[in-house]
Symmetry: C2
Subunit: 580 residues, 2 copies
């Protein structure tokens, strides 16, 4: 696969749209860690690594897949070498705590590198993403000793991380989790149970794998409030960090999947494995959510990465492939056909707005840690934006990958072409880390509806400050987005006021999320339009075309989704179960 990171757009977003340098200047920890020249050099280095090292192993890795033989899990050829290079270059610990060997880099930069990784290889990127998420969870909830023991090795990539939640009977609803944690005679916790769908649960990329496992203490209350989180290494870790014996953590099988064939999706057996409690007893879900929220944004970015990779493949093909003739009889590249342009521009107009939203969300995450006086608002925005990014980026990631495949015609269905792999790989992103339906419930029910839409109103403030800087040529577009946010606020309150608010929420949430997604993408286009004149002429021209396309040809979807969300709840609820 021929992937080149969209560096110019990334630079435009960091420098011009989100003015990273002035944001960092307001956050001492960031200002110490980075300046713009360094950020640009980091993006360059990331672009080189992803195009030269990671992208080349993506297609063969899909064909070879992960294998298991006598309980030993082996990743495809080249994955181990690539992962070691990746880790040694510091990328796993990119956003990690400097006190324990992390690089402490801003998330608004991290999201851009993460997108490159997913564009280059979904399966490869997951190993690192899970490791960084596990490290974040331990950094947030672990004891000092746990942090000192685990974080340096996770940041360095010598060890990797995994998140062990799902069991056959416990998926979207974790309350029936059965895995047990019991104290042994030495006062150590012993974990026993089986977990399924564990990404990176076992493999040969690193010398140890640190599992964060949801389990139930003997005296725990029923349901999800009786879950505790344990750190359970594949090999026991001595006090000095040296590896000890195997810890009763084994991979039972590797799932056969639609895609991400080079990612080891494992059934994991814990057979009296030694574990340590992370955070408080029975507060495991709270601790796990730190990791889950990290992963949710990361998985959203998987959707963006696939859309971008698909765009690059399809745009390149559309310029090279001739079908049909021009008026003078000359061969016509298919890019000349309006419908091919429609497909490419739909992808680009969505993906570039999504990239802006990822950076905006990264900035809010940085502010939650370091933003003086802005932490609370940033935290609220993050709560709103993470489920939106996860679900909207990935739903559109599928749409854009399918469009990219369509540009190739019959050749797009052939495995060797590479674009069909994107469709198979990105499809999981709508499902794991909480299905997009679960994200939508979270967004509308827990983030938008409380406090009369207070968090959504923060975005309206952002819109107003954006409009204040917007050239008058975009007044019509600004009005449409103002109207859209007003409609979104009204709709959220209408649904909340329903006599059957819980059912109304559940029936409406996904359509509501999509409507909000298009409105927020509109806001991102307006934000970009405030600084089109800062960009070099080609970028500015391209953005202007794509923004017009977005408003004329994509934004009409907003009304359709909102109308669907606002339909009478009885329409969805009223059909008796036996008629399905």
């Amino acid at each position: 696969m021929n992937y080149h990171a969209p560096l110019k757009d990334m630079q435009f977003l960091l420098k011009d749209v989100f003015k990273a340098e002035s944001e960092w200047a307001k956050m001492p920890a960031m200002a110490d860690a980075i300046e713009m020249d360094t950020a640009m050099a980091i993006l360059d280095e990331g672009a080189r690594l992803t195009s030269e090292v990671i992208a080349p192993i993506n297609r063969p890795g899909d064909e070879q897949g992960v294998r298991i033989l006598d309980g030993v899990v082996t990743t495809p050829d080249g994955y181990k070498e690539a992962y070691q290079l990746y880790a040694q270059s510091g990328w796993v610990g990119f956003g990690g705590d400097p006190q324990y060997g992390g690089m402490g880099m801003p998330k608004m930069l991290g999201v851009l590198f993460e997108e490159m990784c997913y564009s280059a290889s979904n399966a490869f990127a997951l190993y690192s993403s899970l490791t960084a998420g596990a490290a974040l969870c331990l950094a947030s909830h672990g004891t000092e000793a746990q942090k000192a023991l685990y974080l340096p090795k996770l940041y360095s990539g010598e060890w990797t991380g995994a998140m062990d939640m799902t069991e056959p009977q416990a998926g979207s609803d974790l309350s029936p989790v059965r895995t047990k944690a019991e104290l042994d005679e030495n006062g150590q916790y012993r974990i026993t149970g089986t977990k399924i769908f564990i990404t990176g649960g076992d493999h040969d990329l690193a010398e140890n794998i640190i599992h964060l496992v949801l389990a139930r203490l003997p005296d725990a209350p029923a349901g999800s409030r009786g879950l505790s989180l344990f750190v359970v290494p594949k090999y026991q870790v001595k006090a000095d960090g040296a590896l000890g014996e195997a810890n009763g953590v084994t991979c039972g099988s590797i799932e056969h999947k639609m895609g991400i064939q080079a990612s080891a999706t494992c059934v994991m057996h814990f057979d009296g494995a030694r574990g340590e409690l992370v955070g408080q007893a029975n507060r495991g879900l709270h601790a796990m959510f730190t990791m889950m929220n990290y992963e949710r944004l990361s998985i959203g970015i998987q959707g963006l990465g696939c859309a971008e990779a698909g765009y690059q493949m399809a745009a390149s093909y559309a310029k090279e492939r001739n079908q049909g003739q021009g008026k003078d009889g000359s061969a016509l590249p298919i890019l000349a056909h309006g419908d091919v342009r429609r497909m490419l521009m739909t992808n680009a107009a969505l993906t570039e707005a999504g990239r802006a939203l990822a950076v905006f969300t990264g900035l809010q995450l940085d502010k939650t840690k370091f933003g003086e006086g802005e932490q609370s608002a940033a935290q609220s925005l993050v709560g709103l934006l993470v489920p939106l990014c996860k679900a909207f980026f990935t739903d559109l990631g599928l749409e854009c990958s399918v469009l990219s495949q369509q540009v190739f015609g019959g050749h797009g269905y052939i495995r060797e072409t590479g674009v069909e792999q994107l469709v198979r790989d990105v499809r999981i992103a709508q499902i794991y880390e909480g299905t997009n339906g679960i994200q939508a419930l979270d967004l509308l029910g827990r983030k938008v509806q409380p406090h009369d839409g207070a968090v959504l109103k923060l975005l309206v403030q952002e819109l107003e400050s954006t409009c204040a800087e917007l050239p008058a040529q975009w007044d019509t577009e600004a009005s449409r987005i103002r109207q859209a946010f007003g409609d979104l606020l009204d709709a959220a309150m209408t649904l909340k006021a329903s006599d059957e608010a819980a059912d109304a929420l559940n029936s409406a949430a996904v359509d509501y999320l999509h409507a909000m997604g298009y409105a927020v993408y509109g806001l991102m286009w307006l934000k970009m339009a405030t600084v089109f004149d800062h960009a070099e002429p080609a970028l500015s021209a391209r953005k202007t075309h794509l923004m017009r396309f977005f408003f004329a040809r994509i934004f009409p979807r907003f009304d359709a989704h909102l109308a669907s969300a606002l339909s009478d709840v009885e329409i969805t609820k009223g059909m008796p179960a036996d008629l399905f």
Copy 2:
């Protein structure tokens, strides 16, 4: 896979909605061939065959795939036996000319059996579909001798058919086809060239394979007007129908694909193979279109079949899988969740309207052959409906298959569950037999826009006669569909009047097709609603719920697509090629 044909809905459509018996009474050839009891018995038999014989080989066939060794192509275990049983039962010749051994059954019945086949196995169904299409082409354009020689063996399934058009440089645009046809010293045509993406190009299901090959005569004009059609058997056929020597037709390789792994997609080499001209020289594309139009409807039905199969799997899972608890603490099947209902009802509301449209289109096809005084109008409607069915059924086939997969959560991504195969299999249907973009160009540019929208006005007549019988409770819905058809007519004329009509057509066509699809589905729901009271109570209740859902939650998409189609052509055309 556990598939059961939706017989009650099929019977409702045939008997109550489209009143097949009174239609057949108006067509002597049909009235002689069939009566309603026979039709019901045929559907029962089709349901048994598809659920007991075909569905069971679908999942293993996907894993095993088609293999090629030393030039010999082998289908997965069980395919040969299933195909022989299928053929011996007369299904290949179901709609064939009785004069040559076909069963002469109506197409409005045939489309329903075809849907069952695709639901049971996409890959299996293709072998039969291509054979029936090749037979239809020979029946329409072949000489008496060709018909006598080929049709009985094709109808009986002893031989199969294939359609050989695409070459590496000639896909959507066939004008650069290079395969040559030259007369040899004996006055026989010799075909030489390479074709790609040939479905069922070689396999072990039958003793001979009859290729219909587009090739160019030595003195032919350039472009697509210089293409002629040849019938080229894999083994030479003697005058008495006995098989002779191999004919220089070989399979170079089997494509590695995203899905339909049990369908042999072949690179075919013709090395001086003997062929006979079918129809007139240089009129090959005209003759081939007979087959292509047959296949286009068939491929549309592939989309419907996948949607229905996915619905059945997902609905069954949603009733069995518990997640979450009711207010009384009882386990809650996920069907209780509004978002799961939304996904299932979206699928059902679209698929049942699509099935109605397939039967309506089948009826028009029957009228083109036998409808006294109605042939011309029916021919026009078929021209309009075939590209609509092909593209709209398959685009929604992907959407509905993805929704079905989503209902399964993580389990939907696992190959053994079976639902992910639907997504991989149905994806090709948007691409082959003319991409959906090509269908949209045909629909809007060649079928809707000419003669001031005369053909679309035939559908408006259909709408008015439907509304005349519609209970008053559906007045609002009827008004919306009336308005929609008015909007569609206006939009077609507006686009035609554009200064850049060709580009406007090309940019708008896919969105226009989608808008029309929702309007026509609305019409189908109205047609069904005229006879809800004829159906048994459970079916009537289910239809009423699904119709309300369609109008409240799906139909709002109409406006979004129409607005997108009507956007200024410059928005899509104006972006310079180097900015992509």
